[in-house]
Symmetry: C2
Subunit: 192 residues, 2 copies
Amino acid sequence: MALRHAVLAALLDEERSGYQLAKAFDVGVANFWHALPQQLYAELTKLEREGLVAGREVVQETRPNKRVFQATEAGLAELREFTAAASKPSFIRDDLLVKVQGADHVDSGQLIEQLGERATAAEAKIELFSALLHQMRGDESEDEFLLDGERIGPYLTCLRGLAFERDNRDWCRRIADVLRARQAAALSHRPG
Amino acid sequence: MALRHAVLAALLDEERSGYQLAKAFDVGVANFWHALPQQLYAELTKLEREGLVAGREVVQETRPNKRVFQATEAGLAELREFTAAASKPSFIRDDLLVKVQGADHVDSGQLIEQLGERATAAEAKIELFSALLHQMRGDESEDEFLLDGERIGPYLTCLRGLAFERDNRDWCRRIADVLRARQAAALSHRPG
DNA sequence: TCAGAATAGTCAGATTCTTGACTAGAAGGA
DNA sequence: TCCTTCTAGTCAAGAATCTGACTATTCTGA
């Protein structure tokens, strides 16, 4: 039931279209939740029917028309209720970790390659999040902004995303190094 | 489709019962995947039917009998195929992040409390993972173990879990501090 | 100029995950 | 002695998520 609250949280400060939400909840950003466009459009329909978000048609000249949504008072109340309830613990669920768990039984080369790809993807996210953070805080230092900024929610979740991706990158690189070192050691033990 | 591979990866090195798996994939450990007992028992049944794991009845005196499973050659082949394929990116999906995203519109006190609870839970996992890592590497240093250890897969995923929980703890504490500082600042601006 | 990406969505179907309940004996603590 | 927890599972139903396809128009790069 948290997708609906994630959508509400994303529609608190500004109007967004389903399409904009879809991009925000996509692989590229997804700093506090992830969902596919289909889920988002479906959820927006439900939320609007329940009066938790309000939709508005925006006529565009050169682009297809779109509907933009914003959380209503009722939506905010729903989000507050959600916030008051206990949070479920969050779990890791990652294909790559499953593969590394089997590291002793599978081809190291493939793992090293995938770890490299993941590290590159993490690096790209790090750049993106860093730029987003800088944009949000403007000229201020982070500490200043967090003390007197008006909208710090998105900044805080972005910080979490940044830390996650840094860890991700560092871990991938470390593990790839370990696997390479073991390949080298294995070669030197039984050479030729 | 990754649960089946997570189960296979968990059954590579040693036999385990569904019940043992359930504990390993539970909230408490879950260092490379998470699943509920119901999912695991169902998946084990499927895997056995497909010949990817082999089950064996163990008769116990004082405890209910149990069935223990281990990956077969076919299971290992399946896992290798999985490893060769591209990994899906991993996403954050966390109730608490949704709540923090809405931080500017909800009660800070509740958030601070939940951040504290999460930090405590993370700390407990940190202890657990640290102990597990120590147990796995024995007397050796980490670098030594990772270079010449025989089964490093579970160690590597545990390292990832440790880093994740450390980040989690640090971020929760930092955000709770920020929210407290803002509460204090708000009080001093409009006192009484 | 022509293919491909971006904008702005929708639909159906399958799979996966979660919630909740239920059985049953043994061990441990108050 | 009784209550709770632990071991060791099973069943059904519902919610959430993912896969894949489909419609249109417009802008952009080769």
